[in-house]
Symmetry: C2
Subunit: 456 residues, 2 copies
Amino acid sequence: MSEKIPYKIYLTESEMPKQWYNIRAHMNNKPAPILNPQTLKPITVDELSEIFCRELAIQELDETNAYIDIPKEIQDFYKMYRPSPLTRAYCLEKALGTPAKIYYKFEGNNTSGSHKLNSAIAQAYYAKQQGLKGVTTETGAGQWGTALSMACAYLDLDCQVYMVKVSYEQKPFRREVMRTFGASVTPSPSMTTNVGKKINREFPGTSGSLGCAISEAVEAAAAQEGYRYVLGSVLSQVLIHQTIIGLETKIALDKYNVKPDIIIGCAGGGSNLGGLISPFAGEKILGKEDYRIIAVEPASCPSLTRGRYAYDYCDTGKVCPLAKMYTLGSGFIPSSSHSGGLRYHGMSSIVSQLYDDGIIEATSVEQTSVFAAATQFARVEGILPAPESSHAIKVAIDEALKCKETGEEKTIVFGLTGTGYFDMVAYQRFNDGDMSDYIPTDEELEKGFATLPKVE
Amino acid sequence: MSEKIPYKIYLTESEMPKQWYNIRAHMNNKPAPILNPQTLKPITVDELSEIFCRELAIQELDETNAYIDIPKEIQDFYKMYRPSPLTRAYCLEKALGTPAKIYYKFEGNNTSGSHKLNSAIAQAYYAKQQGLKGVTTETGAGQWGTALSMACAYLDLDCQVYMVKVSYEQKPFRREVMRTFGASVTPSPSMTTNVGKKINREFPGTSGSLGCAISEAVEAAAAQEGYRYVLGSVLSQVLIHQTIIGLETKIALDKYNVKPDIIIGCAGGGSNLGGLISPFAGEKILGKEDYRIIAVEPASCPSLTRGRYAYDYCDTGKVCPLAKMYTLGSGFIPSSSHSGGLRYHGMSSIVSQLYDDGIIEATSVEQTSVFAAATQFARVEGILPAPESSHAIKVAIDEALKCKETGEEKTIVFGLTGTGYFDMVAYQRFNDGDMSDYIPTDEELEKGFATLPKVE
């Protein structure tokens, strides 16, 4: 039989999705309402609009509309770097000697290096549409900040990024990419905000934290006329924008009459995972199709597999709304794992509810096995994956090897969210045999749970 | 009129080229024969096979076959990262307000970050096919070494890279990418070769040079049974492999009945430029079509625009064959321009002859104007270009602005050879306003010309 599936499936422009998908409209159990951090009551669009753009506030709370039109301008921007290829991993299959058919949706072929751009352009667009002058945000390693800088440059919107000081100093490349796209990048804690000044006073010489950077970005947005704060993960609005990943994947598979058996994604805040799996999970909920859907998280930060399903703050700074989610507690301190993008204490409320309802399952993997899988993948598929993405690679390889045992020709689809060019310090540690694994003890988890807020 | 050309044109697998193009078969004036560095007589396939794989030696000297079959295995590897997109720069056109139609062929969407992989896989394949154990090479900034490491990992071939010591120490990311792909990376000068030991003895603490790294790689290949040396640019074999760029471009344009008026590429050793323009220059030679073809070089290293057309050594180590080419002399010391890939004293013998025959023209541009063009391009097109590639962007923008003056709707195609993620030190200098230009004086050029060998 001649092989008909190409190495890479690209959609034509006319095949590209014109709407995002909002799975909440189809969920039997909706995620619990998000709460105003001041009142601990369900937050309203008006209240949310004080932090985010109004249109995004509406999307955040929308539980009824299954499809949301992608504005023409965002569709045009998507055309600059999308569709992303759905790649048949022929070489990986051959290297593993598996009868499984493996596909991956690769989001790394854009200058931000990841899927983050899908939501960055949407958030920047709605800010522009609302007549705002600019947006503020925080960034750790810099992937989200880069994506937002690109989107803002395209729309001629001011972009102010608070970058965790240690990253600002140790990752000057990322910082310069943002500056090249016209963003102003401020090391956090800075002396430009009250919260920054306070932290600098109390902890002289601190190298900063994401929680502090969020607080500074929120304060800076509030202090400036015509500014709003934007966030790159966790929120339902972000997950909605990321459904472009899953929708394209599904259209590409349908084009070749391929039905996946297993869909795998890495889980940090949950927005990329949710975006990839939404169209499939939706069909599963509606009883149209059945799929195994697997969320993969690091063993060092196991919010789904070992967390509690409870209300918690989305940010360590406690300025964003609270959500009911699988969480380790906002006070949980993850180990210095190299998968920075997965070091998040909580999980998207949508993904949490899907997991609680048994629509998706979850597993956790250890760092050294992840880097081994990443290296194996890179050598045969020619892509250097981000450590975060490699969590999905690890489990995809494991599932493919199970097929080798059983002889089953399962179809496995995984999300490859980004590239690892800026993670070479971690790769070096792995190459040198200097990498170790870390699994938090129950006692350590209890300390995190103790920081959960008491919400009736 | 509705716009029919998509933002990105991808070829299907069946549309992809099955043969490379060897323009020498159609050239009225063939490039002068390359010479054995020992005898200064035209080199034979047998002599050349002592340095390179036999099949590559044959390609190097082939002046008669216009088309060379791409082996099935290389076609399969190409399918992992090709076709590269031919992108219509709608956003750049709009930003410039030009009636010109601008297209760019983007070679940066692979882990090596550039077009280098097109030849790396070919050279590794022929080495493997000949039953060799491995290959040796040199690398400066690391782009070529990365590409070769990827190709060798795929074919399970040993890859030994001599990396200029200053880059080895200052660009650890690139080094780790190569190691992740299984290559051994040795800082040059090393203590593993005679030439390395000698240089370390004579110049203790030297930070190395590309010439020295070439000499070490050649010595290492000769000293090991089953090894050959491979080179990433300048050679005609490399240019042949790079014609995949131009062939794909032409097929994509033909698909939409687009005929370019101007084709622009950056010129270092000339292989990417030659690869892009070959199919178009071939038609021009054969009188089928007419095109303006422009090679862009840095004003700091102007081999075409200010060099001599003479026999010269291809490498500063004088171990590779001599070629007649436009050159500044192998002893010319280029300024510390940041476009490392364009800091080469000579030029592909094919490109040189095409230039001498008036088939292509050449121009030089200064560094700060190149980074300004790069930044402008990045902000609207969402790709952070390599400084080398940005030389072509600069001239494409200039030509598009001329169209704005005259109202002409010219079609401009340029080659975007790679991404600039590892060039952020240069971008930072530009962002900080710290970048300066440098144009060598006539006296400085004369010093370079004085190093030209005397060949009758």
